[in-house]
Amino acid sequence: MDFSLNEEQRAWQMKARRFAEEEIRPISLQRDQITDPFATFDWDIIRKGSALGFRTAAVPKRWGGYGVDIVTQAVVMAELARGDAAMSKAFSQCWKWSHLIAASCTPDQQERFLKTFLADDTYLLGAGITEPNAGSDNRLPPGNDPKAGYRLRAERDGDHWILNGVKSFIAHGSVGKLFFVYTRTNPNVNLKEGSTLFLVPRDTPGFRIGKVFNKIGWRFYQNAELIFENARVPHANVIGEVNGGAKAGSGETSGFGELELAANALGVCDSALEMAMQRAHARARGGERLGDQQFIQLKLSEMHVLIEALRSFVMRTAWERDRAAQGDAAMRESVNADFVMSFSRTALDRITELNMEIHGTADGTANVQAEKLFRDAITSHVAGDIVQRITPIQRLLARMRAQSALAAARP
């Protein structure tokens, strides 16, 4: 048992903390308050962060990246999110690719896209799954219903595929240069058997960006519509096999997606707690500090308890995912990444709300920063939703069934 970071991990943590304090925090609120959802992005912070390695941190060393482990990734995400949840996610969104590419891409694809990604300090990545009528069905498809799940159509045309349809709410949709797009290549069978995953560069003919969604929080992080009108994508951009889209995506077993949001939430919680402790310490009325009041102490206590539980759980899970990546079969089976994401939801909602309570409101005004954290928190409420909560249980119960079937089969 050892909960400490090694030297390299610690160095990344310090670098991220400094960057969050010196670069992210000073512009966080200002970017948040821009009304036009298209105008919230800031390329300068991306370039600065790229220079420090935050964009490419997760690309394995053999391809020229930093190849940091998942513990480091968790630590860096949390530190950056302490400055701004959306800006942290703008970097970590690119890490998914590193995981997926390692799991599922051909050397040719790696060659074509990784080099550009590493060289261009504004090269951002996105993935297109959600469609207006396909949300939780993508994640928990109902049996054999061919109508359930995403419907974006891809049809073969010689060496190319013709894509038609719309993806919505796509992260980095308006700023990304390369997208992982899930399509239906056989609309008559279910999602699992009839979908294909494509690499689609931004400049693909017939592919354009629609509206940017006007979210109430995570303002810097843009979610947009991707519109495909006879978009032509070369066959060489298929990831995995045709009609093997579900498999291509699930080859990435790091559990990074879940851990990513949990680590991000941890950073936001830290930021809220910092504010609340500072307020309790510094604010006085009639000679009495706010923090002298028992009901404030109880709120602070609840915040601390949830945060330290979350920190413990996030770091343990990150370690588990590293072990899984190194081939530990038991860890590969662990569903803690799902659970930690659910737990982060509880902690994040409660902690940002308690911070608002401690700051209070009066005369119809509220503390700007506390309110931003609350908005950021509820914006990510899809993480840790019902599907997120029941999926791992279904897996665990299925495993119990398989084991008892096995036991029953034995003499």
Binding site: Q33, T35, P37, T130, G135, S136, D137, L140, P142, G143, D145, A148, F169, F213, N214, K215, I216, G217, N223, R283, R285, G286, L290, Q293, F295, I296, D349, E353, M356, E357, H359, G360, T361, A362, D363, G364, T365, A366, N367, V368, Q369, E371, F374, I378, T379, H381, V382, D385, I386, I390
Partner: protein, 420 residues
């Protein structure tokens, strides 16, 4: 005799307001929701219609020309309006509440004779109140005397002829952008004065808050507007107010802004809060009946069904306790004859409703998924409105202190004069 039948008038009034909400407010609210909060402006025609329905003067006794509605009817109306748009509800309720306070309490007969006709005849005449600055911790005390140190940002200087010269800037005054008459509490050398000021008085400028500008709040930290109605900034520059406009020679404490008087005041705000919850619930229910995932309408999934059940149970329960408090506000004898226990029912209604609706809005947003957090869709507005009710105008934490003091039998020493 215990009886929960509404009168035919109450049912009719509710139907009329529902109709008004469906025809006028909801279409407008959908449009307004796409704007920044501080840029929302209600169309004047809406004011006219609301006023013609009697909503602007709902709480004003009939003898003074108002609708003379009882507290229960006021709560029924406030809830229905807030289902349509909480901002419209807050604006109308503010005027209606202040009208009663002003015309049925603060004004002398002469003053009433002067202002009443204009107020009654002008459908667009709304009211606002500008009092001392407050900050959250004002109400965060328990079992000990209250020391208010909120100061009036507006100063009053008595001129030689008895007129008052007002100076100062006050931020975030509810109803300021729509008010034609403003009740101003100002600090004179020898204590607070309350004056009635017409919005077109020379030397008074009413400004909209710039959404991007961050004014420091009473505690010096940056704050921004976070209320459910419309609010604005009042700038007084040597604004001369005639002596006859002096309506109270001390400060004014509004009953629904806390304090002991709030304990049995009609729970208007709780009723609006309930309306917010209903708006969120009704949208979620409709969506859950339409949206298909997992091969069936999502309402047929146990998890969604359970959430909707919890939502409707909370809302019905909140209405039950709000109506009880509303009725109790008009029937003090029910405490004496043993029909009600000696408890501050309005405070209880406020606490329960705020917690219920907060949870209801979060659940509703959850059912909507990503659409629950889009700025140009109404759901996020409900979530934020619910948070505002939970934390503002006496937070739930402070309301619980007051309730606990009531059950403990704690009698607070009277505050020094001028406490708000």
């Amino acid at each position: 005799m215990y009886d929960l039948h509404l009168t035919a008038e109450q049912v009719e009034m509710r139907e009329a307001v529902r109709d008004f909400v469906a025809r006028e407010i909801k279409p407008m609210a959908a449009e307004l929701d796409r704007r920044e909060e501080l840029q929302r402006q209600f169309p004047p025609a809406l004011f006219d219609q609301a006023s013609q329905l009697g909503l602007r003067t709902l709480g004003l006794p009939a003898e003074f020309g108002g609708a003379g509605a009882d507290s229960l009817t006021i709560c029924i109306v406030a809830e229905e309006l807030a289902v349509g748009d909480v901002g419209v509800a807050a604006m109308l309720t503010e005027t209606s509440t202040l009208a009663r306070l002003l015309f049925d309490g603060m004004l002398s007969d002469e003053q009433r004779a002067q202002w009443m006709p204009e107020f009654l005849s002008d459908h667009r005449c709304h009211l606002a109140f500008a009092g001392p600055d407050s900050e959250p911790s004002d109400d965060w005390f328990y079992h000990r005397p209250f020391v208010a140190d909120g100061r009036c940002p507006i100063s009053a200087l008595k001129a030689a002829n008895g007129d008052w010269l007002l100076n100062g800037v006050q931020n975030f005054v509810p109803n300021a952008p729509v008010a034609k008459l403003i009740i101003v509490e100002a600090a004179a050398a020898d204590g607070p004065r309350t004056l009635l000021v017409a919005c077109n008085t020379r030397g008074l400028e009413v400004r909209a808050h710039d959404p991007a500008s961050r004014n420091p709040g009473a505690d010096g930290e940056p704050v921004f507007a976070w209320n459910n109605g419309t609010s604005g900034q009042l700038v007084f520059r040597d604004c001369r107010v005639p002596a006859k406009n002096l309506i109270a020679s001390a400060g004014t404490r509004l009953p629904d802004r806390g304090g002991k008087a709030a304990d049995r005041a009609p729970p208007h705000r709780a009723a609006m809060n309930l309306g917010v919850g209903r708006a969120a619930y009704e949208a979620a229910l409709e969506y859950a009946k339409l949206r298909v995932q997992g091969g069936r309408r999502i309402i047929e999934h146990q998890a969604i069904g359970t959430m909707l059940a919890e939502m409707v149970a909370r809302l019905e329960t909140a209405r039950s306790v709000i109506w009880q408090a509303a009725w109790a506000a008009d029937h003090a004898d029910a405490y004496a004859d043993g029909s009600l226990p000696h408890l501050p029912h309005a405070t209880i209604a406020r606490i329960m409703t705020a917690e219920f609706v907060h949870k209801v809005t979060l659940d509703a947003a959850q059912i909507f998924g990503g659409s629950g957090v889009m700025r140009d869709l109404p759901m996020q507005k409900h979530v934020r409105a619910g948070m505002i009710f939970l934390h503002s105008n006496v937070s739930n934490s402070a309301a619980k202190f007051r309730l606990a003091e009531a059950v403990a039998g704690y009698e607070r020493p009277s505050p020094a004069a001028g406490g708000r």
